[in-house]
Subunit: 328 residues, 2 copies
């Protein structure tokens, strides 16, 4: 593990707009596919493909990546076939074009062993948001690992006048895909005395995690016990974040973890009824109930700067003061 | 069972603005208390109390009904004490002032047997929305019944220029509290061939139901098997309603029901990405997956006209063409 090398945050000096720092030596194949929502801006997918090529990937766009059916990227059969087609092709990287909604409709029909075989053949499935359903379903049904990270249109398709591709997001993703990345670091909001633990990293979007609780797609108690759970969400008021975390607490999930990492909770609108109730209130309330460390500040969520994290992999978590390091 | 008498909907002629049709003969005691969110308009509670008195109830406002703590109607200890105080007093009717958020924080600490004893002594607990947590928790922990129905500020505190108290809501509530109500009728959207079944009525707000899944506050499979589940929600886009219903389907809940009644799904905002995806799409998709009848049109939810329904009670459901009748 090489903390200094693999410490994307906070390292402002690394945020140059120069060429990617770690383009793969031999081109890795990367397939773009749409398991969830219809593309809001199809041009963003073309832009993302160009940029990913410039990063050194051999990019293939799945034939149904731009399909449209109401709010979905094609009917269920089309999206399911795309997922299975990508799994059968087993590219080095299988990246979702975007999230939105759609995987929930496919969960009962996904050929999980086929996806697990692609992982054995070297495929790294990458995405976030709605894609949490794939991460968690794959873990639940097969134990196979996948990657929480950027998506094509949201991250690599971001217009220049909206800030372009975030350098940290891009570099961390490339290093994760080439296998160079062995650790990521970030600054927590609160200070901790020396904390050192090992556990299986898992998690993702809170709304999606909750939408799988109680179903056959939720991992067994044995799989998630002693884990390191990370959580983010978007467009959700803090009281809904709190309600979701309380549910995970009441369901015995939070208490079974060695640590809970809170990522970014973005784009929620305050209400005149809040009267001082904020995300900080939520964190304080949860800490009053939990003996498990609740660590905030993880650079992950619906924000430009996001780490690429190995879902299902056993990691080591080190926290010293406000410096946190996740290594694998 | 007297269908004609107890058929609040659709009977436009019963919607007069005259005096309540069924004021209790001997005054029933009714306590107003706040287990959830802070009162948005305290004046609405005073108005509701006056109107409930005019309906013939002996109204008592709990001492903490107007408490304020951030977005909550007082700190957890204050709201929990109010709940237990009302249970110990065992009035004929225990009505929540409003929903919002708050019961999720109390679930692990509620003295459920105390609440069940109040039910044995004749208390009818009434509310909806966040109050679904109480209905479901009470059913899960004790098997005791309660009532899904109007709340003080939202229904009885509605300003005259906003339409005042809905007559159907008021009359149905009064009849339910006096014990006169034995059946409620409504018009379904789709026509059914003769349908006749019996099962335990349970349900409420979808977001709240989902927030209890997987926790000890969710009823046992034995309790809810063969039931009649009713569901409503507010401010939730149809794709979120669908995701929630899919979760209940994947969790085996919907398939274990004899029927699922869909109430009102109000106040959601369409998205430019919907492209024809609506609540009708959701219902059609669910019907394609379920063999259980999915019956729409139940007058219940975050809308002025709502029935008062016995949660936890075995009911008979009759549907003939578009006429549905729930009797008990």
């Amino acid at each position: 593990m090489s903390p200094a090398r693999n410490r994307p945050l906070p390292v402002p000096s690394s945020r140059s707009s120069s060429a990617p720092s770690a383009a793969p030596a031999a081109p890795l194949s990367l397939q773009l596919f749409s398991p969830s929502g219809v593309l809001a801006r199809p041009a963003a997918l073309s832009l993302a493909a160009r940029r990913l090529k410039a990063c050194g990937f051999q990019v293939v766009e799945d034939e149904a990546a731009r399909a449209r059916h109401q709010r979905l990227a094609g009917p269920d059969d089309v999206r399911l076939a795309a997922l299975h087609r990508v799994a059968a092709a087993a590219p080095s990287v299988a990246m979702a074009t975007r999230g939105g909604y759609g995987l929930s409709r496919l969960l009962d029909r996904i050929d999980w062993p086929l996806l697990a075989r692609s992982v054995e053949r070297g495929t790294r499935w990458v995405g976030h948001s709605d894609f949490t359903a794939l991460h968690i379903g794959l873990l639940a049904h097969t134990g196979a690992g996948s990657w929480a990270g950027p998506m094509a249109t949201d991250d690599f398709g971001r217009a220049e006048d909206a800030g372009g591709v975030d350098d940290v997001t891009r570099d961390c993703f490339i290093e994760a895909m080439t296998g160079e990345l062995e650790a990521v670091g970030f600054r927590t909001e609160a200070s901790f005395d020396s904390l050192q633990l090992r556990g299986r990293l898992w998690g993702g979007n809170l709304s999606m995690l909750l939408s799988m609780l109680g179903t056959p797609h939720w991992p067994s108690a044995r799989t998630i016990k002693g884990g390191v759970l990370f959580i983010e969400d978007v467009n959700e008021h803090p009281y809904r974040i709190e309600r979701g975390l309380l549910q995970l607490h009441q369901a015995g999930v939070l208490g079974a973890q060695k640590a809970v990492l809170l990522g970014q909770f973005s784009a929620w609108k305050p209400s005149p009824l809040d009267r001082g109730y904020t995300l900080k209130t939520v964190v304080a309330h949860l800490r009053s109930l939990l003996s498990v460390p609740l660590i905030t500040g993880l650079p992950f969520g619906h924000v430009p700067t996001k780490l690429t994290l190995p879902v299902g992999r056993t990691v080591q978590l080190l926290v010293q003061g406000r410096d946190a390091l996740i290594g694998w």
